[in-house]
């Protein structure tokens, strides 16, 4: 039986929780508001919260001056490309580890995880030099390769924890009914695995979109994704608050929306199934 909660208590909890939540969210809200101000209003004292002349000119200026869409497109290609590549490699691997586990399956899983523990800076120098010598520096394909390999362990792990939950009996039943391996995968496994694959896809696009070590070190201009594009605002353009805000909003809005849809998967993906 659930405990009854007095309305008074609920109201107090609500007030406290909303205050804290808005405080945590405030920097994003403030960036959102500032992106619609004129530069003068953006640094006005006292700060203007809602009552200012709303304008969208910052967005057009940012696009006009620094070609936002090129960088947006780079981000899309790099994050989606690396995620899809990782899925293509990981789905068969996770499938076989979940349904045909061998003696060494657990060791392989743990070993894959251990590659994720290696700090990126430990291999910065050789990757940089290899990229320089092969002409991969500042190319989208180069970043797709690095981010695919970087996220591969997480993708395998997430898929593995999802596939593990598909009851093996169903597969056996299909096999008894005469389904061969190909049919088994297409008609039985895939429909049940789609939700897990979709959440893996979503979480990895988010991780790749926000990755800010390799994207900053391996790109300069033409293949720079949004992380690098924003970093170029570090100075002195950063002092133009309204334009900085507009550029920032355009860089984070798509992924925040995706992120809100993937809260649950986030826990599972980032803890490697240790917390569900």
């Amino acid at each position: 039986m659930a405990r009854t909660v007095t309305t008074q208590r609920k109201v107090i909890v609500t007030a406290i929780a909303w205050t804290i939540a808005i405080a945590i969210f405030f920097p994003i809200l403030w960036t959102f508001l500032t992106s619609f101000k004129t530069e003068a209003d953006a640094i006005a004292t006292p700060p203007k919260f809602l009552f200012f002349d709303w304008t969208t000119e910052n967005y057009t200026t940012v696009q006009g001056r620094s070609n936002y869409f090129l960088h947006f497109w780079n981000s899309v290609i790099i994050s989606v490309g690396s995620t899809v590549a990782a899925l293509i490699i990981a789905i068969p691997a996770a499938w076989s580890m979940a349904f045909v586990p061998g003696k060494r399956t657990k060791d392989i899983l743990m070993w894959m995880l251990s590659t994720k523990m290696m700090p990126a800076v430990g291999v910065l120098v050789p990757i940089y030099l290899l990229f320089r010598d092969t002409g991969l520096l500042d190319t989208r394909i180069g970043l797709v390769i690095v981010l695919t390999l970087m996220n591969l362990p997480i993708v395998v792990w997430m898929l593995y924890t999802y596939f593990k939950e598909i009851p093996g009996e169903i597969l056996e039943a299909a096999r008894m009914d005469g389904a061969n391996l190909t049919r088994e995968i297409i008609y039985v496994l895939t429909p049940m695995a789609v939700p897990g694959i979709a959440s893996t896809l979503l979480l990895n696009i988010i991780l790749a979109w926000n990755e800010a070590f390799w994207t900053l070190n391996l790109t300069a201009s033409k293949s720079a994704p949004l992380t690098q594009f924003i970093a170029s605002y570090s100075s002195p353009e950063g002092l133009f608050y309204a334009k900085l805000s507009a550029a920032s909003m355009m860089a984070i809005a798509p992924i925040i929306v995706l992120g809100w849809f993937s809260q649950k998967q986030l826990v599972r993906g980032l803890t490697f199934g240790a917390v569900k």
């Binding site: 909890v13 804290i20 800076v121 291999v123 390999l149 591969l152 900053l216 949004l226 992924i255």
Partner: protein
């Protein structure tokens, strides 16, 4: 029952992932180790002689090394303290019945999805700027002199920024763990006369211990390599006041072109991360048994 054929197929399916990851791990790491024993500077042409542990000696005696190590640990521990304690308190709060719980959750989660360069720049310019920042305005309104966060307390400011990004992560995971707690257990304890405080310390906290450990270990892995936040706010400065190991290696190898020295630093960073990783792997491995 797996047949012989499906076993062979299984091996075939697993091999691309294993081979690629193996190459990704072994080739660059091997190169880093090799470079760390060479005198190798991109600005100095000619061959790169083998010099043994010279680079490591230079790295450990570099006046920036100990501050960088210290900064790395301060950054990790500072962010961990804020996010773990804050995360537990927030998770307890969000677990209470309230109006609009879904929206509150969404607001609290949001910072985690903000890319590091954006959050660092927004905090640096719009909040911590001593002239036009919001904090400066608040200070002036209350009659204090504005505080120049990133010059006067660079590491502390970076800790604040990074903690803001990771607090949602800790909260989300601890909340998930809290919601899996059997409410009957709590009711039974209450009937036996346990107060709110003892219910927290004897039932909730032990239940959260596992999730909290996971939070701490995973965050440590990521926090050891904080980079973008430092690059766009302070560039490691003033002096070396906010240089961590990752940033130090970056500046030695890509700014000063000293491949040998940078590689030695990279290996030190790998060793440091591995010490943490061993504990994390053990926790996750235990979970795999069940």
């Amino acid at each position: 029952m797996a047949t012989q054929a499906s076993r062979a197929a299984g091996r075939l399916m697993i091999s691309p992932a294993v081979i690629l990851l193996f190459l990704w791990m072994i080739v660059p790491l091997g190169m880093t180790i090799w470079f760390s024993f060479l005198r190798y500077n991109l600005l100095i042409p000619g061959d790169n002689p083998f010099v043994g542990i010279e680079n490591y000696q230079y790295f450990f005696t570099d006046p920036n090394f100990w501050p960088a190590l210290w900064n790395t640990l301060t950054l990790v521990l500072g962010v961990l303290a804020i996010t773990t304690i804050g995360g537990i308190l927030l998770a307890l709060l969000l677990d209470q019945p309230m109006f609009g719980q879904g929206i509150v959750r969404v607001l609290v989660i949001a910072p985690f999805f903000v890319m590091p360069t954006v959050s660092a720049l927004v905090w640096k310019n719009m909040f911590m700027n001593p002239v036009n920042g919001l904090f400066a305005w608040i200070a002036r309104t209350l009659g204090f002199a504005p505080f120049d966060f990133l010059s006067a307390a660079p590491l502390f400011s970076i800790i604040l920024i990074v903690a803001w990004q990771w607090l949602p992560f800790a909260t989300l995971i601890l909340l998930t763990a809290l919601q899996s707690l059997d409410s009957e257990q709590l009711e039974a304890a209450e009937m036996d006369g346990a107060g709110a405080v003892s219910r927290f310390f004897y039932i909730m906290l032990p239940h959260l211990a596992r999730a909290a450990t996971v939070v701490i270990l995973i965050q440590t892995i990521f926090l050891l390599s904080v980079f973008a936040e430092i690059l766009v706010t302070t560039n490691g400065g003033p002096g070396n006041a906010s240089t961590n190991l990752t940033y130090l290696v970056y500046s030695q190898s890509l700014l000063q072109y000293d491949v040998g020295l940078g590689s030695a630093g990279g290996i030190v960073a790998v060793i440091l991360a591995n010490i943490v990783a061993i504990f994390l792997m053990r926790m996750i491995g235990k979970n795999l048994e069940t």
